[in-house]
């Protein structure tokens, strides 16, 4: 570790042309995928500069997704905590119930621009699967979603929604049968289908240009938040908190604030049931830099470089890796990363439901839990924004099971 004074300042002008965020990122994939990744990077570059593309995406985000999502003042929650004012960026109110749709619409438009005729996606909590299936139904593209069989079990409502939307679900039985294995299987499909298929990766992970592109599509979260903060309390927030699975809702929220040094940013990983290997899914807190799923970033691996099993009760955070830009933000000291265990997240879930009337996704509940702890140490005239990345309808059945409730 370099000393704090020698640490480079985090820049928003990353990644470089090789997809590097400082030391992190890059492209570690089989040669077979190189041409498609180059093609995607080129097409994304063109689309970014094309006013027609931007207009079409902005129109969809407004009329199909329902953006801008509100910035809501959680007064009762703030009062019960007794510290900073807590604001919720309501990504849970988006069509399909989470931030994931911001990314899938952008990538589906790129799929059409590249002349590709089929989409594949991986999913953990099923939110990205539903958002992919929705975007594909909207554009008339066939969609195949890879999902670990353990996640199929614990996120049943989303599995059924994907089917209603016309997507084909492929159950993944290998390894831990969760998100990481679903990514492997989707990549294998792509190895064979790459000529006509686009792989809509669901987070800021994978080989370049995915981490950059997904961040950019999600950055609408942070851009809206900036404006809404200025409109409602006339300045930027003092602190922003978001949960980190692969890291897309957090990256989208944080990125527009990276160069605003006065804004403290905190990413919350899944602490699972404890700090022992295999009991959590917190590579930034407990892992090491390594290579997984095409990029160089923090990862949970053993001494031979084999990926470790991880645990979180929340399927969307149950992943041994993390997007490379988060590793960069951690290395530069720009963002603090902490972890929140299953139990604390579950308590926050209940508290938010009862004090504010909002049933949050279990993923987002991790951010809410830590936001309450952080807010408690802040002053009442300070402002803290939490990215409420999704709603909890999908989790109701699993929570009932965990509590032994049958209905």
């Amino acid at each position: 570790m370099s000393s704090a004074s020698a640490r480079p300042h985090a820049s928003a002008s990353v990644p470089d042309s090789q997809g590097r965020f400082g030391d992190f990122g890059g492209r570690f994939v089989p040669e077979t995928l190189t041409r498609a990744l180059d093609q995607l990077a080129d097409e994304y570059d063109r689309a970014k500069k094309d006013p027609e593309f931007q207009r079409e995406l902005a129109g969809l985000l407004k009329t199909f997704v329902g953006r801008p999502s509100p910035l809501y003042h959680a007064k009762r929650l703030s009062n019960s905590v007794g510290g900073a004012q807590i604001w919720l960026k309501r990504e849970d109110l988006n069509h399909t119930g989470a931030h994931k749709i911001n990314n899938t619409l952008g990538q589906a438009l790129l799929t059409l621009r590249m002349g590709k005729t089929r989409v594949i996606a991986e999913t953990g909590a099923g939110q990205h699967g539903v958002a992919s299936a929705t975007a594909c139904a909207h554009f008339g593209l066939p969609c195949t979603v890879y999902m670990g069989s353990e996640d199929i079990r614990r996120q049943k409502p989303n599995v059924f929604s994907m089917k209603l939307l016309g997507a084909e679900i492929c159950a993944v039985e290998s390894g831990s049968k969760t998100l990481r294995d679903a990514v492997n299987e989707a990549m294998r499909d792509w190895m064979s289908s790459v000529e006509n298929t686009h792989y809509i990766i669901g987070s800021v992970i994978g080989p370049h240009p995915f981490p950059m592109m997904v961040r950019d599509f999600q950055a609408i979260i942070g851009r809206e938040t900036r404006e809404q903060c200025r409109d409602t309390f006339d300045r930027l927030p003092d602190c922003i908190v978001a949960c980190v699975g692969g890291g897309s809702n957090a990256a989208g929220m944080f990125y527009p604030f990276v160069e605003d040094d006065g804004v403290r940013m905190v990413g919350v990983e899944a602490g699972g049931r404890g700090n022992a290997p295999g009991d959590h899914a917190s590579p930034l807190s407990f892992g090491d830099p390594g290579v997984l799923h095409g990029s160089y970033s923090y990862v949970m691996q053993d001494e031979d470089g084999q990926t470790c099993d991880v645990h979180s009760m929340s399927a969307g955070l149950d992943y041994p890796g993390v997007g490379p830009e988060h590793s960069y933000w951690m290395a530069t000291g720009r963002v603090d990363y902490i972890d929140c265990g299953d139990d604390a997240a579950m308590q926050a879930f209940d508290q938010l439901a009862r004090t504010e009337g909002i049933i949050a996704a279990l993923e987002s509940s991790h951010a809410v839990a830590k936001a309450m702890t952080i807010a408690a140490e802040m002053k009442p005239d300070q402002h803290l924004v939490v990215c409420l990345s999704g709603r909890g309808d999908k989790d109701a059945m699993e929570i009932a099971r965990l509590r032994g409730v049958t209905f």
């Binding site: 040669e31 077979t32 064979s192 000529e195 290579v291 691996q301 031979d304």
Partner: protein, 267 residues
């Protein structure tokens, strides 16, 4: 000159083609792997590719994937590959290379990996997830140790890029026959022979074709255009379906013998 360079120059002089079986280290255990490697030379192989089990192999189909999973579940450790290499000494031993994910190399360190591999008699590495853009540093270290870094070219690789990859590869060039993952195929792309012949004209490096070669027939078709053939899933499947070390070795060597004959008859 590495043992691989030596081998291909001898094969070229005698107008022979290399047969390179792929075997997963530690599947179902390291003793069986050792017995197979010891028997491959007599069975007709020229070079062996030892696959190092990895938890997340995205370029592999179900057969090799499950061999990795079996090995890891029975306690495979990387150090076993180095220990095994040290036991395999003597003239009868074939040159051998490892197929290894960059995740593993990065974890133990590039220099350490090369040092340990060289000490254990491995002549090179195929790193399927290390693209030419990301490989400069590793390539430099390999060169300094006369350790071959075998690069891959695929059907989706644009031609200028194929030439660039050929220029940075050492030992031989691995031509991936299909757009896809490892696994046996009944038919290979119709333009495969033309594409390899084109590449032939661009480089002096030996070209070996791998992925999808499942039978003596396919081997015979491809032998004339290549310097060598790599056969993986068809062998790993035989290892998985025989039980007991002796039966595994017999099944593998019989198949390797058939491939050898088909290749020799065709060239």
């Amino acid at each position: 000159m590495s043992a691989i360079d030596q081998l291909f120059s001898e094969l070229r002089q005698s107008k022979k083609k290399a047969l390179m079986p792929f075997v997963t280290a530690g599947d179902p255990n390291i003793e069986t792997t050792e017995a197979i490697l010891r028997a491959l030379g007599d069975a007709g192989a020229d070079l062996c590719e030892l696959g190092i089990p990895y938890s997340d192999p995205v370029a592999d189909g179900p057969v090799i994937q499950s061999s990795y999973q079996r090995a890891l579940e029975s306690g495979f450790k990387l150090q076993q590959v180095f220990d095994l290499g040290k036991r395999l000494t003597g003239d009868a031993m074939l040159p051998r290379v490892t197929m290894v994910s960059y995740s593993i190399i990065h974890r133990i360190g590039m220099e350490t990996y090369i040092k340990k591999a060289v000490e254990a008699g491995y002549s090179g590495a195929i790193v399927p997830d290390l693209l030419v853009e990301e490989s400069a540093e590793f390539a430099k270290l390999c060169k300094a140790s006369d350790f071959s870094l075998i690069q891959l070219v695929t059907p989706t690789t644009p031609r200028e890029r194929q030439v660039r990859i050929a220029e940075s590869s050492t030992g031989f060039l691995y031509y991936v026959s299909v757009t896809g993952i490892t696994g046996e195929r009944t038919a290979l792309p119709t333009d495969l022979v033309d594409n390899v012949s084109w590449l032939r004209g661009q480089t002096d490096l030996p070209i070996c074709i791998g992925f999808g070669i499942s039978s003596p027939d396919t081997a015979a078709q491809l032998a004339p255009v290549a310097d060598g053939l790599i056969v993986g899933s068809a062998i790993v499947r035989r290892i998985a379906s025989a039980s007991g070390k002796e039966n595994v070795v017999r099944s593998v060597t019989e198949f390797v013998g058939q491939l050898r004959k088909a290749i020799d008859d065709a060239t």
